[in-house]
Symmetry: C2
Subunit: 634 residues, 2 copies
């Protein structure tokens, strides 16, 4: 059957395949946080014409249904259709990503006292040409010269030897070899041609992929590419990906997807700077444990099953061709080592970039992404945990949640008298959803202005039409026009409180494990793209961040790709990443007896124990609100 989109495109589809599937096959990707299970309610489309079979309407409301809205994953065509895909349902490429500047990166590498020492080393050999008196084989001739320079035990891969006879003669017996520390030959070049040397540092995020193109001779960041991880079409979080990977052919499909993303990004960069793929001589990747496993095609199933065991934490240095990366086929690929199933190479990279592992002061490192990993420590010790916060701050599991793209409510102010909200929307357009920083703002504001209580429940006695009974119980309407209402429901708020509680409880528990209090924390590093948009004050009111002086907080942006960049350039830092990973003690929160207690206490706004949030307490008492709405429970 034909499906005609209002954009003009016509696609083929079949009776037993959902419209979401049909779109995916035809390269039209919708937001589908739950991976097509009818739960998240994000793949909304409007049937303009034609008959469909709808299996479930999920959380769609009567006025949605009346206007022809249906969930693509739950809808099957019964005849030719005309379909409209609203903007908010499309998987939008082009997130705002705060990127490091080349100068900053060079300052960073200098501040670490690390030499520029890429994975591939070079050596130039001037070989005596063969003669009747000296007619040993080409390879033995090469080995003899290498031995004279104390390079022994080199491993000669077949591809290298296959082309050796011609290379040596073409280059008149004067060659430069590129080789790895593991003694594999990567390339052979004429000795007197100055070769440009490039590398890629890749951050494989669950949501976003970032590629740095780096000049390995001087460490300069030449260019940057970024895109959504196309695996998003299979679901937002690592769990949905793992589940998909365990289905037949799923792992390879996910692997191809992410590798294609990286190759597409790097192709664009290489073309723009007229660099040949053969000149990409090394690659560093950093991702969480699941992403790293999928990138290498390793079964991630056991990551999810107790006792949560990855296949590998310290990855061997396989070659670019093994990964199917567009680079010199023999380029070594360094994978940032992982710590455990839910603390991966992205966190090791972040810690490396933060330099917290080199300092006396005790620091807290937080990555509030889809997972919520935290690290506490200094140069003596490091402990880490994954909070399983879930991807709600990225929009998943929140009725009108979305990523921080155009149309997302990113800031909220609520009038204390009329309770009318004043919204900041990305791009200055009509709101189509609410992103993470908007959620934090909204809840903090609602709490401060008495719209919700400490448990996140709406104050039913409030005189405002903004609060109404919705599908999931009460909800607050932030935006409304003819086609769309944007709300936060009590269920949404509950989800956000759970996420923030998980993060806060994780930090509390780690501190208890090492026997120190919040006051011992000298610095808080907030990593991740989302981190940059957080209003610290509001996040403290929410009880997500600990109530410590604001000047202790540092936003370090995408520390993951920065760490990958550092490892691309320096041998010492690659080793240091290994040391960080080996040294870090992983605490499994899900089996820690104290965690549930901490978590339950943190489900309140900002916390059951108000004494832990003195600045919030003061703010509320100053506003005379404390007494009215809050009773300290201990």
């Amino acid at each position: 059957m034909d499906i005609k989109l209002t954009t003009g495109t016509t696609l083929q589809s079949y009776k037993d395949e959902s419209l979401l599937e049909a779109f995916k096959k035809n390269g039209v990707y919708l937001v589908s946080s739950c991976g097509g299970k009818g739960i998240c309610g994000k793949c909304r489309i409007r049937i303009i014409k034609g008959k469909t079979k709808v299996v479930s309407t999920g959380k769609l409301e009567p006025h949605d249904l009346n206007s022809g809205i249906t969930l693509a994953c739950q809808t099957f065509p019964e005849e030719n259709l005309v379909v409209d895909i609203p903007k908010e349902s499309r998987l939008v490429i082009g997130e705002k990503i705060v990127l490091s500047k080349s100068g900053d990166l060079l300052d960073l590498i200098n501040s670490l006292n690390a030499s520029i020492s890429p994975m591939v080393r070079q050596i130039t050999l001037i070989l005596p040409p063969p003669s009747i008196e000296d007619n040993i084989s080409d390879l033995e001739r090469l080995k003899r010269s290498l031995e004279e320079k104390d390079l022994i035990g080199m491993r000669f891969v077949h591809e290298f030897v296959s082309s050796l006879a011609n290379s040596l003669r073409d280059y008149d017996w004067k060659v430069t070899l590129g080789y790895t520390v593991g003694h594999d030959i990567v390339y052979v070049l004429p000795a007197y041609i100055k070769k440009e040397r490039y590398g890629l540092a890749v951050d494989i995020g669950t949501t976003t992929i970032v590629v740095y193109l780096v000049n390995l001779l001087n460490g300069l960041l030449i260019d940057v590419g970024s895109t959504y991880n196309s695996q998003m079409r299979y679901g937002d979080d690592v769990i949905t990906r793992i589940v998909y990977a365990t289905e037949s052919g799923g792992l390879n499909e996910l692997r191809d997807t992410v590798v294609t993303d990286i190759n597409d990004l790097s192709s664009t960069l290489l073309e723009r700077h007229q660099i040949k793929k053969e000149d990409i001589e090394s690659v560093v990747i950093a991702g969480n444990t699941t992403m790293t496993h999928i990138f290498w095609g390793l079964n991630p199933a056991y990551i999810r099953e107790e006792p949560y065991v990855p296949t590998v934490n310290f990855f061997p240095r396989w070659m670019a061709e093994t990964a199917n990366l567009r680079a010199n086929p023999r380029a070594p690929v360094f994978s940032l080592p992982c710590i455990a199933s839910y603390v991966g190479g992205d966190i090791v990279a972040g810690v490396l970039a933060s330099k917290m592992h080199r300092k006396e002061e005790i620091a807290l490192f937080m990555d509030i992404g889809t997972n919520g990993e935290i690290v506490i420590g200094n140069k003596e010790w490091l402990v880490t945990a994954a909070c399983s916060a879930g991807p709600c701050f990225e929009g998943s599991g929140i009725r009108h949640g979305m990523r921080a793209t155009e149309g997302a409510i990113e800031s909220v102010n609520i009038d204390p008298v009329t309770f009318e909200p004043k919204l900041g929307v990305i791009g200055g357009v009509n709101a189509i959803g609410i992103c993470g920083s908007g959620m934090i703002d909204a809840i903090a504001e609602m709490f401060l202005k008495g719209v919700i209580d400490q448990k996140g429940k709406f104050n039913k006695e409030l005189q405002t039409e903004r609060i109404r009974e919705g599908f999931d119980g009460l909800e607050f309407i932030f935006f409304k026009n003819n086609t769309r209402k944007i709300v936060l429901t009590e269920v949404d708020i509950e989800n956000i409180l759970r996420a923030k509680a998980a993060i806060y409880a994780g930090v509390s528990l780690l501190l208890k494990e090492v026997g120190i209090g919040f006051d011992a924390i000298d610095r808080v590093y907030i990593a991740g793209g989302f981190g940059n948009y957080i209003d610290i004050d509001k996040a403290i009111i929410l009880g997500m961040l600990p109530d410590i002086p604001k000047e202790k907080f540092s936003f370090i942006g995408n520390a993951c790709v920065t760490g990958a960049y550092l490892c691309l350039l320096s041998k010492e830092l690659r080793q240091e990443a290994g040391v960080i990973a080996s040294k870090m003690t992983y605490i499994e929160l899900s089996v820690s007896r104290g965690f549930m207690e901490e978590y339950m206490s943190a489900l309140f706004l900002p916390h059951t124990h108000m004494r832990l949030f003195p600045s919030v307490k003061k703010m509320l008492s100053h506003k005379n609100l404390l007494k009215a709405r809050f009773k300290e429970q201990t």
Copy 2:
């Protein structure tokens, strides 16, 4: 156009492709010693019906032409044809190959005091299953156990790690690993299943390929397969192969050809013994330098060009999958090291099998195959040379020369009075050609009976119709019936004398290089399939073998595959092969000043210097023939 064979088959052909090419494309292979250049005159076919364009008739005789005989490589179809391919023109598979017996091989390995220590080692690990308290990754768990057994620095290939998670769980954390000395993992198996362990020892001859299937647990030779090297369809000797390899796509074609031969042989063996290809865990190959290069897909062009440099002599241990061999993809493949462009791994294997490198006594090792390699030495020193004898003893370059298959004249006796020859023909059938041992016999007999003189020229005054004027001058008719005459021409005899002179001169020169005489030789090892059929006495009369006591000669059969077998089983012997190759001094005869002189002197029957052949001298004088036919020249 259609070509109908008298066997019933019908083939397709095109106007601009020779019948030889057309046959080859359709899998019908003809003897084609010169590789299709119209020189050797071996690809004789008979056109029964239809018009052809004949470019050249080569050495065909009028009666051949009259009966419709033409050279397939020089004949192009102009319409549909009916063609008969005489038996002698077909490339016959199934040479008689003298094979070692399993018991002899085990005796040999015992006599060498070598332990059975294959390339793949095994270790059994009982891993503690993961728990929440001990949830390091699968690979780190494995490494930890390996380290406890002092195995560090193991290299984990991607394929191994890809299947690791499932293997460990399927095998309940009790595994046996197969790994190489180079620390690559080859396989992982359940610990408590007793695995059969097999290997292949392969002799890649220019003419013949032999595969031994060996049980690596006890060293037993399970079975043997052998076939002609299908590269023969591209020419008989290494030079025609090298030339073909340098043509576009030629190298890959030759490589595929030989690998397919080996795989076909091993498939048959595996099927017969119900062995899975995955259980072939290591392979040893031995061949001359060109064959070894082609097997690995390495450009052999520079082997042929001064200063005669191979790409590799000591081959890295690449994997079976790199070679496209049908075996465990990660099975290591050991290539017997080569010495120089024309002394290869087959000779190193042969020396190893002869044990001459371990003894006090000075031995001469001769491989009279297509090339004619010789080694002289003992446990202190070894010198070697390649004689460029050419493949005439295998039938190439001899008008009616053929390999030792059915229909070949293998022995000759000439009546001293009537000069009628008495022939021994393989298979007792009508003669269709003459093989190497037949040539030696024939020339020795003709010389002894006065049919030819010391220079190999026919005695024109002899009263016999057996001698007649032919295409290339005078010739001796050994066999004649209605369809075929089998002759040796003066040109043939000249070629054979050149070959034997090259061999003898090589030995002389090597002896001079080391400053000893023929009498210093305690033992002569004659290796190679052909060697087994040589009549020592006749070969001495010919002047091919030195005139030393007959009891000093030992036939050691296919010493090449024996050496490969030894290397398959024993680490010490693989190392010993390396020592042999390193230690052997290669003398390049083509640039040695003394060689041409030695060669010229050896062109006579048996030699210019009759004193070097006392037994022949005595035989001739006893027969009162010496005076009549021979004047000592010094």
